[in-house]
């Protein structure tokens, strides 16, 4: 075997492996583990934004139902999807170990997302049970939850404030 060619072959394999790994990482939505505060904040922001979008979609659909502009089955599907969306957001951030200084906000993030998840579930149950008189009030509560999540998302732009 020609040494140069062998080295070249190894180099080619190494390059191909690196490219393949990157492609697989991209294809599976995986990212390398990055335990710093910035990385956690980005993940937390994404989870909060996803939860907020799902809550807003549920609110929008409920309001359209109150105005008679959407079918019951469509509304039900949108709410089921919103419930799944908030659930996924909750799982994604709940499984991430926060760095020390972010422990407090971790509790806030997971707490608010779980609260939103509970609210969307309540709305979905009301829709399945056709409790139309509750839609307006539920939409208002979803709106408040979405506002709170959006404020939290803005807050996550910056590192936690240190006392003193």
């Amino acid at each position: 075997m020609v040494p140069g060619r062998r080295g070249g072959w190894r180099h080619t394999v190494a390059t191909a492996s690196a490219v393949l790994s990157l492609a697989v990482a991209g294809a599976t939505g995986c990212a390398p583990g990055t335990p710093d505060g910035d990385s956690w904040r980005i993940d937390a922001q994404r989870a909060v934004a996803d939860a907020s979008s799902a809550v807003l979609a549920a609110e929008l659909a409920l309001r359209q139902s109150v105005r008679g502009r959407i079918f019951d089955r469509y509304l039900q599907t949108v709410l089921v999807e919103a419930e799944e969306g908030v659930g996924k957001a909750s799982q994604s951030i709940g499984a991430r170990q926060p760095p020390g200084p972010e422990q407090e906000r971790y509790q806030t993030v997971t707490g608010q997302i779980e609260e939103a998840a509970g609210l969307v579930s309540t709305a979905r149950i009301a829709v399945v049970d056709r409790e139309e008189d509750r839609y307006d009030a539920l939409a208002d509560r979803l709106s408040s939850a979405a506002d709170a999540l959006q404020k939290l998302e803005d807050d996550l732009e910056h590192p936690p404030r240190t006392g003193g």
């Binding site: 991209g26 939505g29 469509y74």
Partner: protein, 409 residues
């Protein structure tokens, strides 16, 4: 008069058949997050698909042979295989996404979980591919897909600031809270969605199925140059209506149900019902086109008998591929993979596969041995070459952008 109707029908079905699950989802996602600031990408993508669809349609009309058949003969089995693998991988992924899209659309109508609907949809797709006449399939689903015009009506009814929307389309800018790399990722995704390879293969193979000759080149060009751009306007209408409804509340679009909400806001139940017909028709039509494209690609490369105008027992291997592809797509969906996620992958991987798909078409359309007097002119060559460069940049950027943005997060 008969020719006029043929042209009109071709244009209408081209408009209705232009939008698929990739266009629906990607345009709504981009509209909600970026407004119409990426509208120019859709326009560039539409011009690109027109350039290459015209070339492949002309190749079919002049040679009466399909693209893969000629690519393999002209460029050899290696390039032919690369072309086949790249387009097949993307088309199969798109096939999965389209069947999932039909199931998601029917879930919105029935509120039955889409996983229970997937086998039913797959059976209907297979039945259409096996039994339905080509013209019936193309015309019925294409015309029903036209109902997506409801998004344009809805956008008009929502009363946006048209000047602002138009301004955002021509200025390269992004919302302040978004990053440029995310903007670039969605630009590549939109480009991939507009230039999906299966559309060109289906178009040219359909030309062979319908026995186009050089006399049909005029009609083919009318379909491409009028039908495709008008279909692209539907894409912009979907993005525009999502921008108007979701932009101000700062919400993103993650599901097909959310894609339809702007129409409900603008037009109520009737509009929503029409949009649902459009969702089902667009995704079902695209599923049939993808399924056929998988069969066309393999059969043409292998030199088998193919096509819906050939008796099924004569084109048995072609129909076996169609059946196996449908079973495979169903199996993938039944693993509970999210069809919207598959759609997002399909449009990005479409961008990656574009050079291997479109380069051979440019070569064949430039070969006087095949094309005679209908070989590419200067304009077609100039546009084709420029687009190959754009396609190359999009293909190279796709995976790195996918990784650094975590799929546009």
């Amino acid at each position: 008069m008969k020719k006029f109707f043929a042209v009109a029908l071709g244009i209408l079905t081209a408009i209705g058949g232009f939008v698929d699950i990739g266009d629906l989802v990607t345009n709504a996602q981009v509209g909600a997050r970026f407004g119409l600031s990426l509208g120019w990408v859709v326009i560039i993508g539409i011009v690109g698909i027109c350039v290459f669809a015209e070339m492949s349609g002309r190749v079919a009309a002049v040679s009466q042979r399909a693209t893969f058949d000629i690519v393999r003969e002209r460029l050899g089995p290696r390039v032919g295989m690369a072309n086949l693998l790249a387009s097949m991988a993307v088309t199969m992924l798109t096939f999965v996404a389209e069947i999932g899209g039909v199931a998601l659309a029917l879930q919105l109508v029935s509120s039955v979980n889409y996983l229970l609907i997937v086998p039913f949809v797959a059976f209907i797709v297979w039945l259409i591919l096996w039994r339905a006449r080509f013209s019936v399939m193309e015309n019925v689903l294409g015309l029903c897909g036209l109902t997506l015009i409801v998004f344009a009506v809805g956008l008009w009814q929502l009363g946006p600031d048209w000047g602002d929307l138009a301004h955002r389309m021509v200025v390269v800018d992004k919302p302040g809270d978004e990053q440029w790399r995310t903007w670039a990722y969605y630009a590549v995704a939109l480009f991939g969605a507009a230039m999906t390879p299966y559309e060109v293969f289906f178009f040219s193979s359909g030309g062979v199925e319908e026995r186009w000759t050089t006399k049909d080149i005029g009609v083919m060009r009318a379909n491409v140059f009028i039908g495709f751009p008008l279909g692209g306007l539907l894409s912009l209408a979907i993005a525009g209506s999502a921008a108007v409804v979701f932009g101000p509340i700062d919400a993103s679009v993650d599901t097909l149900g959310q894609v339809g909400l702007p129409v409900a806001v603008a037009l109520g139940k009737i509009g929503l019902a029409v949009a649902l017909v459009g969702f089902v028709a667009a995704t079902l039509g695209a599923a049939c086109e993808c399924g056929l494209s998988v069969g066309y690609s393999i059969a043409q490369y292998r030199g088998w008998q193919w096509g819906k105008y050939v008796r099924t027992d004569v084109a048995a291997r072609f129909h076996l591929v169609l059946a196996l592809a449908t079973i495979l797509a169903t199996g993938v969906l039944l693993t509970k993979v999210d069809p919207i996620l598959v759609t997002e992958f399909s449009v990005v991987f479409s961008a990656i596969a574009l050079p291997l798909t479109y380069f051979p078409i440019l070569v064949v359309a430039n070969d006087p041995d095949y094309m005679g007097d209908h070989v590419n002119g200067r304009l077609a060559n100039a546009l084709g070459s420029v687009y190959l460069m754009v396609i190359g940049v999009a293909a190279l950027a796709a995976i790195p952008l996918m990784i650094v943005t975590r799929m546009g997060a």
